[in-house]
Symmetry: C2
Subunit: 176 residues, 2 copies
DNA sequence: CCGTTTGGCTAATGTCAATAGCTAAAGCTG
DNA sequence: CAGCTTTAGCTATTGACATTAGCCAAACGG
């Protein structure tokens, strides 16, 4: 239900209303507002992780990257509030949240593995991939792409551009 | 002062406290919470716009892109709450906000002009550039880059990658 | 010097998260 | 089956916050 109103506007009062229940009753099921958001975050990360895993199965290299990218964007657009929640950082010491967060990053690492990047090169590539996807999706869902131009096409172009950049990742540093 | 506590936690009560004033007194200077955030957004966009303009003056091509990118990230890290505010969309009909938002995008368009992109190609590139910068900065400031690897280096690598992608922007679509 | 603007104030309201303490039904357990 | 326990709801209350109404005094301009 959260996706309908936006994560920020998901109020316990409204939620209780929707469930036909008084709002203190919710505390029999959740810990606090923060706890609810954490739970949503864990759920969302697991869900997104599953989608990404499914998108990359049986593919590799540029094909896998492209497929995963589109799956990422599609999922985010279908569930904007869940997407927001999926970007919340785990609280330090929250083992479950940390684990599921790590899994998602691991999926990205796996899909980039075909490029044989080592050590920091690999980390740079993972960060770049995450930044590319998150940046686009975040701007898109916040309505920052005002112009009429086709957004699907822009995203496709961006993904292709990232793949092209990846191909010459190693040694990039030297070539100023 | 907002950068100290984070945009979300900037409460009118706390603000009044900091100013040594009772909180209803604030309404003599602002319209509402939403109005305050709008004002901060306009301010932030103007400020960021100025920084970006200064970073690109006298440069062109890859040099200008790199300089602007680093200025963008530096500014965002120095003023995290202002950065958040700068990403708020203008309300429809808010002429001033719309104008200053457009100016910032225009700066990016100008710096990409050296690549002679036309029409939708240019729009795609602008969107890609914004996504790249925002994605990285947003993940970084939210603490999503947990690993020890040098973040400066990752950003540099990302910017180089974007520039490389730009160089082969046109015709990208054809080459699957 | 007087009216007006400016910028503060108290008092009050409404929304929300959160806590305490009560109660009835459901589910076990011997 | 009888009795204890867990579960899941409830009312009442508190405290933080945004917001509005209405009051007042100092500063300011003709």
């Amino acid at each position: 239900m959260a996706d309908e109103v936006g994560l920020a506007k998901l109020t316990l009062a409204a939620l209780a209303d929707r469930l036909g229940v008084r709002q203190p009753s919710l505390y029999k099921h959740i810990d606090s507002m923060a706890g609810l958001q954490r739970d949503m975050a864990v759920h969302a990360k697991r869900d997104l992780g599953g989608v990404l895993a499914r998108a990359s199965v049986g593919r590799s290299g540029a094909d896998a990257i492209s497929s995963m990218s589109h799956a990422y964007r599609d999922w985010a657009r279908a569930h904007p509030a869940r997407y927001e929640a999926s970007n919340l950082m785990p609280a330090p010491g929250d083992v479950e949240d940390e684990a599921v967060s790590l899994e998602a990053v691991q999926l990205i690492a796996d899909v980039l593995a075909a490029y044989n990047l080592e050590g920091d090169d690999a980390i740079d590539a993972i960060r770049a991939f995450r930044a590319t996807l998150h940046g686009f999706v975040s701007l898109e869902t916040s309505g920052s792409f005002a112009l009429a131009a086709d957004v699907d096409r822009s995203f496709d172009r961006l993904v292709r551009g990232f793949i092209a950049a990846l191909a010459q990742w190693t040694g990039d540093t030297a070539a100023s």
